[in-house]
Symmetry: C2
Subunit: 338 residues, 2 copies
């Protein structure tokens, strides 16, 4: 690499001190000994060092970094939310870095991982396994309906932004009922949102005098789990004419199962997802789904975090619960009359 301009590392080496110490001198810290301060300033003058953008970021107290925790990159639900977070936070000088539970490292939990990056704030858009959050948490907001210790905190309502998953699942189930379906199965997944959608599906079916049909053990929100579970449910219950999947990625698995079994969608099987992901919007998949307003969730979570980051609280307060909306596309229709 070119070494044209001297770096903060060069200054530290020349002065025989650590980079952190150079940073302290650059911010005129009174806590550095006169001898070390002189050594650093001599090195700066000798090398003609000028702090560049990266170096001053390194030296600055705040690096304006927001860590975003998500579950799984292969589930695209988070893409719109992340874009909305960025649209609100980057104009304020913040940048985002994303951590998922698979790549955070098995030796540690995602929160601890995030803390090692010294973020100014954290967006928790993941189901957290830990019983409690560390006591050195920076300002944080929970985005989406999650299993997380914050649920037990008194401040939980003020920390969480999500869509109304109970209402959304009710709308999805009632959509299929209104089309004339009675044998409507649900595929539920192991997540905070998944369990709320499950409870809503069950109560909506019962309120309409219908028998819930579902997988007994919730699984991961993956295409694979959606496929395998749909294959089992359709094998055990050939009368099923509609499946409401807990989210879009599992619904794509359901559509694959329909293809494998030679069931025409929507003529022989209606499929409804949840999230309105870019994939659901694609012309190929064209999935009927619930728009959980992940753009609004991202925007409001970002504004809420800005409030917590800003002592003066100059950002308007936000809605903490957003209204989901049914998006009817090509995968849902009346059941065959024959």
């Amino acid at each position: 690499m070119s070494r044209a301009r001297p770096t903060i590392y060069d200054v530290a080496k020349e002065a025989g001190v650590s980079k952190s110490l150079v940073s302290l001198v650059l911010r005129n810290s009174p806590s550095v000994s006169a001898r070390s301060t002189k050594a650093v300033n001599d090195a700066i003058n000798k090398l003609g060092y000028q702090p560049n953008r990266a170096a001053s970021d390194l030296a600055a107290k705040h690096r304006n970094l927001i860590a975003v925790l998500i579950d799984d990159y292969s589930n695209p639900w988070f893409i719109d939310m992340l874009q909305a977070l960025s649209e609100v936070l980057t104009p304020q000088g913040y940048r985002l870095s994303v951590i998922d539970s698979l790549t955070a490292g098995s030796d540690t939990d995602p929160i601890t991982h995030a803390l090692t990056m010294r973020p100014d704030g954290i967006i928790i858009a993941q189901d957290i396994a830990e019983k409690s959050l560390p006591d050195n948490m920076p300002p944080f907001v929970v985005a989406g309906t999650r299993f997380t210790p914050v649920d037990t905190a008194s401040s939980s309502s003020k920390r969480a932004v999500s869509n109304d998953d109970f209402l959304g699942a009710k709308i999805a189930t009632e959509h299929l009922i209104s089309l004339g379906h009675t044998d409507i199965a649900h595929i539920n997944v192991h997540s905070g949102a998944g369990q709320k959608r499950l409870a809503s599906y069950v109560s909506t079916m019962r309120d309409n005098g219908l028998q819930p049909i579902l997988n007994e053990t919730p699984g991961p929100a993956t295409e694979r789990f959606g496929y395998d579970t749909a294959m089992e449910l359709l094998e055990e219950n050939p009368g099923i004419t509609a499946i409401f999947a807990s989210n879009d990625i599992t619904a794509i698995g359901v559509l694959g199962a329909a293809r494998t079994r030679g069931l025409h969608v929507p003529r022989e099987l209606s499929v409804v997802g949840y999230d309105n992901t870019p994939l659901a919007q694609s012309r190929l998949i064209d999935l009927t789904t619930i728009d959980d307003n992940s753009i609004g969730v991202g925007r409001n979570a970002a504004l809420l975090l800005l409030n917590k980051l800003d002592a003066n609280n100059t950002f308007a307060d936000v809605d903490h619960t957003l209204v989901p909306q049914l998006i009817i596309r090509g995968t849902s229709a009346k059941p065959r009359s024959d």
Copy 2:
């Protein structure tokens, strides 16, 4: 939040110094004045502070963080690579954080953003716009075929791990030719890999006496661009019986265009992608594609980075160019004879 255990922030506040200074004292830096050292130690004793995992990470010189730069979360090509990076790096005590070009923040470039997190190393899996890399880059490796300043560096060959995109695109094009297709279109995208695949497609067509058919202006690697471009190409060239898309996500757009135009895949239109993403593997999409061994690219990029991070260079050297493989699925077949 509970304040049961005192944090490094509490110590800094109690001692009336910065957290960086407490970190220096925790690592027994000789450069801190006696007065400040005493103030910090008094605060530590008074509060009964014990560095916890996060705090010692904060204080440690190395936080064992690897930044991974990708283009776009909505293009799932990177998922297997990221998983492979994690499988190699996390057992070594490293953790990963991902930055994409959309969310890094418009005010800055992804490299500068990554540097603000003070990573121990960087995996560049993104086309970098900057003319040159900062002079304070930590050890880094380029994963995949990229537009990046490193290409001009003498060390480039030793820094890059990718599949052979030229060979992969040749295999994809020859697969369609061998099935009997002659009117084979290509959708090319603006990326380092995209331009190599384009060049290979064109030369393979010409070597077989066939006329290349393609979009004049390369676009983004998105489902939307794949859809729009396929609609245009099929409109202008009704004779097209096969389309080789630059990657899987644009191929999904092509499959959507076929659906819109009522073309049966593969009977009336064969479609081949590139990347062998989880979506290509799904039963629903079942896409013929090129496996660019992104697991191998991730694994070798991680090993190469470990070599650069380890002064003793104890990790085996790796292959820098991996061999792609044709995966034949349900979207490619002989053209209709009629």
